[in-house]
């Protein structure tokens, strides 16, 4: 009989409690909504990527190289094409300046051979132009028209030739790359690109071959057969499945991170529930005592209220699931520039079920602690009101103390997808909670110690409320401080990332235009051109491409294939290097071992090189080791005589390997120049450079920065959007925590009014208390968040740290204001009605 009675009691009780509790269940709803939305969206993403794997790559296999495909590879591709005509396509990419009649700017050129893309299609405006490209007709990305102030039908000058803009490509190939920031894409026939003469030695180019091979087993065999040839020829290869998986991994990681931010909202919701249930149980003590008197067992009473918590959890989480689905439908718009393809909406039932379970679970676990109080309520209380709940040590209490962190850790691990990350997250939360608790406890002690005895009555009473019994200091500081902590940490990291990206070319006096691919015979004339648009003399840095042949006599192949001690990273051996040579180190590099050379190489001596510290380690080499290079077909022996630490964050021409002068001067080389020009001079400079030498690229760094900032801004916005859930949940916790004390404050205020307190005094008292609570929570949260931000910026991103003082101060001030408003609201309650109601409350 016990269970049905508990159930019917729970049902009857909940009729009156549900409205009161609903406000706090919204905190759970918000948390579950955040989780369901982001996890559903993540599942949608992965589904879409799987469905569009081939369309994303445009083929089943892509081969890519920085140089033209060697004949061996060419022959394989040709045989595939001969076997199945139309099964291969090619894209050759490079950069150049494009000149319109009124504008100029960097563009990325794409020379197309064959039916690219092999899967999916390219929409154009006017329609059906794709596949008809030939001669001087080009298709462009829509943004080019606005950048170069051009319209369809205009002529563009690229690499000394004239091209006609035949139309725009409205659905662009799925390139997931920051390269797109370098300039809009221009598509032309491969032969037309060749005729521009832009594909010279040393040019930054990319050669891609796309292959259609529908049978997965055939594809696998093909890759296995040619694996070694591709490696030897420095050719990268990606299958559609691999590419989809990589993309899915990146987006999944972002999604999981956003999910963790959302999880914080749910846990805050748990705190709100705990506060609300606590208040509720306190108001039900007499009822419970009476129930005990007339025969209800401790267990029945406990079960009845536990069932109510379960019911509330299901309602709250269920609402969250519905809200989450609505939100999920809106997320694609929010993440438009972050996710490189359309995400189709579908209901993810497992995610919804998980949201319901997690939401209900969090509600129950957080409700357990206040619910345990029921077990301490004796029937005697019904007879004598003054009987306090027995403070016996309930063994179940310890069980719950262990259960709460265990459940939080389990949910964190589930959401993070990786045990280490989930645990780290849970520990970080616990640590933040501990610090907040310590601060709150310290403040209660300190206010008691340094109590403002001479202050006016309302101030004294308000401040004293911070440390008196049943104070709200710890609860409010933890709840609100936590929300503030999350928001300020995210804000600090975002600000610093954006600061880092905006090197601020104009005010910082730093270079803002980069000229690349300057040929040796163009150095002098380019120097003259630069001088016309920049006040600073141009420094041209030579660049000589090269590859590693051997280290200490061990061939590159052996270095990679055979086990070496110390360990050698294959990428460091295989990569194509761009070297320079110079007499002195630059300001952005520091010699940390060995010494810089004095003068050029002596005849007959081995050439000295200086190597960047991390690269040296990746090569498994040390000071004094010999490295043999292949410089454009010539083998050159060098010795490592110094090791450098390079500040890559500085916008300078930095290199992994710097040669002693006197070796590379006669090798084929190109030059790069960093130019500082007024923003108004950038386009004229680009026009002048392109007019003189069409092969030279002039990249407007400011424009690139703006694009990157937009992308980072989008991601940051998505993160802050999720953090906003925490903030709203935090605000609800604040309400719940304050509501716990409000009943008492209202009663006290009424009593004080009977005893002669004026309204202003009551108002001042409450305002002082709440504003002080807000100040404490806001300051602690901001300081904690700032510190966490500093740790992340300094040690995860390894960047210089700037504290965004004003915005953090604004956040703290906002919290104080919110708390103060809460105080005003409470005082309105306290001052409504006549003091006589106090008598009515208790008299028969």
């Amino acid at each position: 009989m016990r269970a049905p009675f508990a159930l019917s009691l729970a049902w009857r009780e909940s009729r009156s409690s549900i409205a009161r509790m609903a406000a706090y269940m919204i905190a759970i709803t918000i948390g579950v909504a955040a989780l369901v939305a982001i996890n559903s969206f993540r599942a949608n993403l992965v589904r879409s990527i799987d469905a569009e794997a081939r369309g994303l790559l445009g083929a089943d296999l892509r081969l890519n190289s920085n140089t033209a495909m060697p004949d061996t590879v060419r022959a394989i591709v040709d045989s595939l094409e001969n076997a199945v005509p139309g099964s291969t396509a090619g894209v050759t990419s490079t950069m150049s300046i494009a000149l319109s009649q009124r504008g100029a700017g960097m563009v990325q050129l794409r020379g197309i051979t064959g039916p690219y893309p092999l899967y999916g299609s390219m929409a154009t405006d006017p329609p059906s132009l794709w596949g008809t490209l030939e001669g001087d007709h080009i298709l462009v990305e829509p943004s080019l028209l606005s950048q170069l102030d051009a319209v369809v039908g205009d002529t563009l000058r690229i690499g000394g030739l004239r091209f006609v803009i035949a139309g725009v490509v409205t659905s662009l190939p799925q390139e997931v790359s920051f390269r797109n920031a370098l300039g809009p894409r221009v598509f032309m026939d491969a032969a037309a690109l060749d005729s521009t003469g832009l594909m010279q030695i040393g040019s930054i180019a990319r050669h891609e071959v796309y292959v259609r091979m529908e049978d997965a087993r055939v594809l696998e065999r093909f890759v296995d057969t040619h694996h070694d040839l591709f490696r030897r020829s420095m050719i990268g290869f990606t299958t559609a499945a691999e590419q989809a998986e990589q993309l899915a991994n990146v987006l999944d990681a972002l999604g999981r991170f956003l999910g963790l931010v959302g999880l914080a909202a749910l846990l805050l919701g748990g705190l709100a529930v705990a506060s609300a249930i606590d208040v509720f149980i306190r108001s039900r003590r007499d009822t419970i005592a009476v129930l005990r008197c007339i025969g209800a067992t401790q267990r029945t009473a406990f079960t009845a209220y536990l069932l109510q918590a379960v019911g509330l959890g299901i309602i709250g989480a269920g609402g969250g699931v519905l809200a989450g689905v609505a939100l999920q439908a809106g997320l694609p718009a929010l993440l438009r520039n972050v996710v490189p393809f359309d995400v189709s909406f579908s209901i993810e039932w497992p995610v919804l079920l998980a949201g319901l379970l997690v939401g209900t679970g969090v509600t129950i676990v957080f409700a357990l602690l206040p619910l345990l109080e029921i077990r301490g309520i004796t029937p005697l209380r019904a007879l004598r009101v003054s009987v306090e709940p027995a403070s016996t040590r309930d063994p179940l209490r310890w069980l719950v103390y262990a259960l709460v962190p265990a459940v939080i850790a389990a949910i964190s691990i589930w959401q993070a997808g990786r045990t280490v990350v989930g645990l780290a997250y849970a520990v970080a939360l616990a640590f933040a909670g501990l610090i907040l608790w310590l601060c709150a406890t310290a403040v209660t002690r300190l206010t008691q110690r340094f109590f403002p005895r001479r202050a006016r009555f309302p101030v004294r009473q308000g401040v004293a409320n911070l440390f008196r019994p049943q104070n709200q200091t710890v609860a409010v500081t933890m709840a609100v401080g936590f929300g503030v902590f999350m928001l300020s940490a995210l804000w600090v990291v975002q600000r610093n990332l954006l600061d880092w990206i905006s090197l601020d070319a104009e005010t910082g006096g730093r270079p803002n235009v980069v000229l690349i691919d300057i040929q040796s015979d163009q150095v002098e004339s380019t120097r003259d051109t630069i001088a016309r648009y920049s006040t600073k003399p141009a420094e041209l840095t030579p660049i000589v491409p090269g590859k590693i042949v051997a280290v200490n006599g061990i061939s590159a192949t052996d270095l990679v294939s055979k086990r070496q001690t110390p360990r050698v990273e294959p990428w460091a051996v295989r990569r194509e290097y761009r070297h320079t040579y110079r007499a002195e180190p630059t300001a952005t590099e520091k010699i940390i071992a060995g010494s810089w050379w004095k003068g050029p190489v002596q005849p007959g001596a081995v050439a000295q090189i200086s190597v960047e510290e991390d690269l040296l380690e990746s090569l498994g080499a040390k000071l004094g080791d010999h490295i043999t290079w292949d410089i454009q077909g010539v083998q050159i022996e060098t010795v490592v005589t110094s090791v450098r630490e390079v500040d890559w964050a500085q916008f300078e021409t930095n290199f992994f390997v710097v040669f002693q002068p006197g070796v590379l001067e006669s090798a084929p080389q190109t030059f790069v120049a960093l130019v500082q020009a007024d923003s108004s001079a950038v386009v004229p400079l680009q026009r002048a450079v392109a007019g003189a030498h069409s092969n030279i690229s002039a990249i407007d760094v400011g424009g690139v920065q703006r694009t990157l900032e937009r992308i980072v801004g989008r991601v940051a916005f998505a993160i802050r959007f999720m953090a906003l859930f925490s903030m709203v949940a935090g605000a609800l916790v604040l309400l719940a925590a304050l509501a716990a004390g409000r009943f008492q404050r209202v009663r006290e205020s009424a009593l004080l009014r009977v005893l002669g307190a004026r309204r202003a005094q009551v108002r001042g008292m409450l305002l002082t208390e709440y504003a002080a609570l807000g100040l404490l929570a806001g300051l602690t949260g901001v300081v904690l968040g700032g510190t966490a931000g500093w740790l992340i910026v300094r040690y995860v991103f390894k960047l210089d740290f700037n504290l965004p003082f004003a915005s953090l101060g604004g956040l703290a001030a906002g919290v104080v204001l919110m708390a103060a408003l809460m105080g005003v609201y409470t005082s309105r309650n306290a001052l409504a009605g006549t003091p006589l109601e106090l008598l009515r409350d208790t008299t028969a």
């Binding site: 009101v385 005094q761 006589l836 008598l839 008299t843």
Partner: protein, 229 residues
């Protein structure tokens, strides 16, 4: 007259109907007088006490305390008047649970602005003295939850007399206490009242307590059934 009420009436709205809880009550109470208001539950005792103390505004009629027309004062004005002239004792003690015994006694003193003329230490000494007089000299730093019902009511008595009020209102002061403890509280209240010469108005169901006053006002259905108005 310390208290002078004329044609007092009070109505409340309940369930869409207007309930008349007090009707046409006039009475005078002289200085140092002790008056008990008695009557069955729902007869309007507490309502009358609230109106006499200025805790609520009457629907009709007027109340003068110490010559001051309460209707002429706004809410804050009445609060200031109470702080200066009126003490209270409640059935449910109504101590502020977050303040210690001595802090509870200090509240009316602080509200009356006593700190402007007296040092904090002196005020505290006075509050401690009062607690000593009600037999709680050794429990001044205890919180209400650490005191028994009888002890809490003693603190409430000390608080009521702390501001040396000219008027004391008591609402069922022994209602929540056993007979023995109640008797002690009454003795204490009478003693403090006699010492201070305070005018006392109390609501009670206890004939013993009512019998110890100079005058009994009997209410029935919102009007005076017996006793001089």
């Amino acid at each position: 007259m310390v208290i002078s009420a004329r044609n007092l009436g009070q109505t409340y709205r309940s369930g869409g109907r207007t309930l008349t809880v007090l009707h046409d009550i006039s009475l005078d109470v002289g200085a140092g007088e002790m008056m008990a208001i008695v009557g069955p539950s729902g007869s309007g005792k507490t309502t009358l006490l609230g109106l006499l103390a200025g805790l609520d505004r009457p629907a009709t009629g007027s109340v003068h305390l110490l010559g001051q027309d309460l209707a002429a004062l706004d809410e804050d004005g009445r609060a200031a008047f109470r702080a200066a002239n009126v003490g209270f004792v409640f059935q449910a003690f109504q101590l502020i649970p977050t303040l210690t015994a001595v802090e509870n006694v200090l509240v009316p003193l602080e509200l009356a602005g006593a700190l402007r003329s007296t040092s904090a230490a002196d005020l505290r000494a006075r509050a401690s003295d009062l607690l000593g007089r009600v037999g709680l000299g050794d429990r001044i730093h205890h919180y209400p939850s650490q005191l028994s019902g009888g002890e809490q009511q003693r603190v409430a008595l000390a608080r009521a007399f702390a501001g040396r009020p000219k008027l004391l209102f008591a609402d069922e002061p022994t209602g929540n206490l056993d007979a023995e403890t109640g008797a002690v509280i009454i003795d204490l209240m009478m003693e403090l009242n006699a010492d201070a010469g305070t005018t006392l108005v109390l609501v009670t169901h206890d004939p013993g307590l009512a019998g110890r006053t100079n005058r009994i006002l009997r209410l029935a259905r919102g009007t005076i059934a017996d006793g001089q108005g």
